[in-house]
């Protein structure tokens, strides 16, 4: 050991690439990538007509982003050792704010802003409940899931409604238009959000603190990380992005249902865990979640295309999720 002053000029540090090191550092991502390629091969071999034509991929890129967008900030929360079950209700309350703001101002842009702010507020409140009152996020967000869904039903009086007026606004083509008539804009937004959250998690101080509080909160706090602030930002991020996903999903069908978001909860969670993010916190990757969401999104179409009835879908979901999570657990232990 020596003091800093004794440390003088040394040879520069160079990172040496080795396959073993790369595999160790990226084990879970490589694992899920192998699962993805394996499944894809099975799909292509069993239903070549479907999986060798571009239409099915445009269909995937059209529907998968609705939940994959939310899986990104949810991954951040799980890495931080937290859980959020309320985001599906936040999707819907954001759309209620959208419709109410549009009714009041007749402006689609203001309606969009109102939806995002409502989502941000709902997420922020989740964070405050978890941090200030020390309630485990799993429990707190079960509560807020019911609360916001209830608020949607009260405010909408359970009625659904057409959003056909949004088709005349610029927002519609920007969020859910098709580039060249085929490539869905929601896929572009998924890519933007994926890259943005990846950069936040891996290149920003905030992301470093997310990993730290998920790994060992006490250490993080001893070393001066403001764990409460990090958590509140994480929940706020889920809130605003869920509201965004709600607007995208609703504008895609130009229709609002008060049940908006129902059915996305388990798919989104499954994408995160399929992608190798540990439920214990401290580890996880955005790329893994991205691949996981496409596996989840493809299974439904694939079971039908392969010639099985739709009844098989859930059984196959279950098999793949259990197998993948087992694989991740094994990889985590053996790649130490």
């Amino acid at each position: 050991m020596s003091t800093m002053s004794e440390i003088e000029a040394v040879q520069p540090y160079e990172e040496h690439f080795s396959l073993a090191k790369f595999a160790r550092a990226n084990g879970t991502q490589l694992g899920i990538l192998c699962v993805f390629i394996l499944l894809w091969t099975i799909f292509i071999v069993s239903a070549p007509d479907t999986f060798l034509s571009p239409q099915i991929y445009y269909a995937f890129m059209s529907t998968i982003p609705f939940f994959a967008i939310m899986a990104m900030p949810l991954t951040v929360a799980v890495i931080a050792g937290e859980m959020d079950l309320s985001f599906t209700s936040i999707m819907a309350i954001g759309m209620v704010a959208f419709i109410m703001a549009h009714n009041a101002t007749n402006s689609v842009l203001l309606a969009f802003v109102a939806a995002l702010l409502t989502g941000l507020f709902a997420g922020f409140m989740n964070g405050v409940i978890v941090v200030q009152f020390g309630i485990p996020s799993l429990v707190a967000t079960i509560g807020t899931q019911f609360f916001w869904r209830g608020a949607v039903l009260v405010l909408s009086e359970g009625r659904s409604g057409s959003l056909i007026y949004t088709e005349n606004s610029l927002l519609h083509p920007i969020l859910v238009g098709k580039i060249g008539g085929v490539f869905p804009m929601q896929m572009v937004w998924l890519l933007i959000i994926t890259i943005g959250i990846w950069a936040l998690l891996n290149r920003h101080r905030f992301g470093a603190h997310v990993y730290l509080i998920g790994d060992n909160e006490n250490s993080a706090r001893l070393m001066g990380v403001n764990a409460g602030r990090v958590r509140i930002i994480v929940f706020s991020l889920i809130g605003i992005i869920s509201a965004f996903a709600g607007v995208v999903a609703s504008l895609h069908v130009t229709y609002f249902w008060p049940s908006l978001g129902d059915g996305y909860l388990l798919r989104t969670l499954a994408s995160v865990f399929l992608g190798g993010t540990s439920v214990f916190g401290g580890t996880g990757t955005i790329l893994g979640t991205f691949i996981g969401s496409f596996i989840i999104g493809a299974i439904e179409a694939a079971t039908v295309a392969i010639g099985l009835t739709g009844f098989w879908t859930q059984l196959i979901y279950g098999l793949i999720i259990v197998a993948s999570v087992t694989m991740h657990s094994y990889l985590r232990r053996s790649l130490k």
Binding site: M1, V10, R203, R205, A208, Y211, G224, K336
Partner: protein, 261 residues
């Protein structure tokens, strides 16, 4: 003569439990103070107040003669306090470089991290100061693979890197081998040689006596006494420690006031 740090009449309660009662504590310029005391005497609470982790219930904290209110960990750090915690304060699943820069990642004004520089600095530290020579260890190695001594080395080198004026070591020899312990004690000598100050906590009275200028004994949340190591033999100090463990007090045989060399 101003002290590097001075605590005046500091008390700390956790609910019903009063961990510290009216503690006065001084750390001089270029002084190593050893804190001794039984388990639960309040040593860790005292240093966590110095490092800004706990806020005192009552009492005042001075840095270089200036009163500091609402001391937090980042604020204490800006005032030059670095700490090696008993619990090491590491994140096991994270890589070496993330642990070295835990809580103060090098980043620009937007918060974007300079990962390349952090890895370079980590590489220099690990090869020069931590003695990691194995090619299996890189700045990207997760520290869960390290031995206890290596982890302690990470916690100590981290405190050094940021060039602090005041280094707090809470039970730093715990879990270290004989050789590692000797290295650590040399390092504490190095702190004084470099003109800095340190607070050194250890159960082992021999370690404390061999490196400290002054020993402060804490018992049941209060300062029971203090001695300059130059004025007392190790045998006498041990007798005093037994005495305090049994009776809770010395017989007034303590020095007070200026303890500078």
């Amino acid at each position: 003569m101003t002290y590097r740090i001075e605590l005046k009449n500091v008390s700390k309660s956790f609910g019903e439990v009063q961990a510290l009662r009216g503690v006065d504590f001084q750390l001089g310029q270029n002084e190593v103070v050893g804190l001794l005391g039984d388990n639960g005497a309040g040593k860790s609470t005292l240093i966590k107040i110095l490092t800004g982790y706990h806020q005192p219930t009552t009492g005042e904290i001075y840095f270089n003669g200036k009163k500091v209110d609402n001391l937090t960990v980042p604020k204490a750090r800006r005032l030059g306090v670095e700490t090696v915690y008993q619990e090491r304060a590491l994140a096991e699943l994270q890589t070496l470089w993330r642990n070295i820069f835990l809580g103060r990642e090098l980043s620009n004004f937007l918060g974007v991290m300079d990962i390349k520089r952090m890895k370079e600095e980590t590489y220099h530290l690990m090869t020069q100061s931590m003695g990691f020579t194995s090619s299996a260890v890189t700045p990207d190695s997760p520290i869960q693979t390290f031995s206890g001594g290596e982890k302690q080395g990470v916690a100590i080198v981290r405190a050094l890197y940021f060039d602090a004026d005041i280094i707090v070591l809470d039970e730093p020899t715990m879990g270290l081998s004989l050789k590692e312990t000797r290295k650590l004690l040399n390092f504490v000598h190095g702190i004084r040689a470099a003109g800095k100050s340190a607070v050194f906590i250890d159960h082992n009275i021999f370690h404390v006596y061999s490196v400290a200028d002054r020993v402060v004994v804490i018992d049941r949340g209060q300062v029971a006494g203090e001695f300059r190591c130059a004025d007392i033999t190790l045998d006498d100090l041990m007798d005093k420690m037994y005495q305090i463990a049994e009776t809770g007090s010395f017989d007034g045989d303590t020095i007070q006031g200026d303890s500078q060399q």
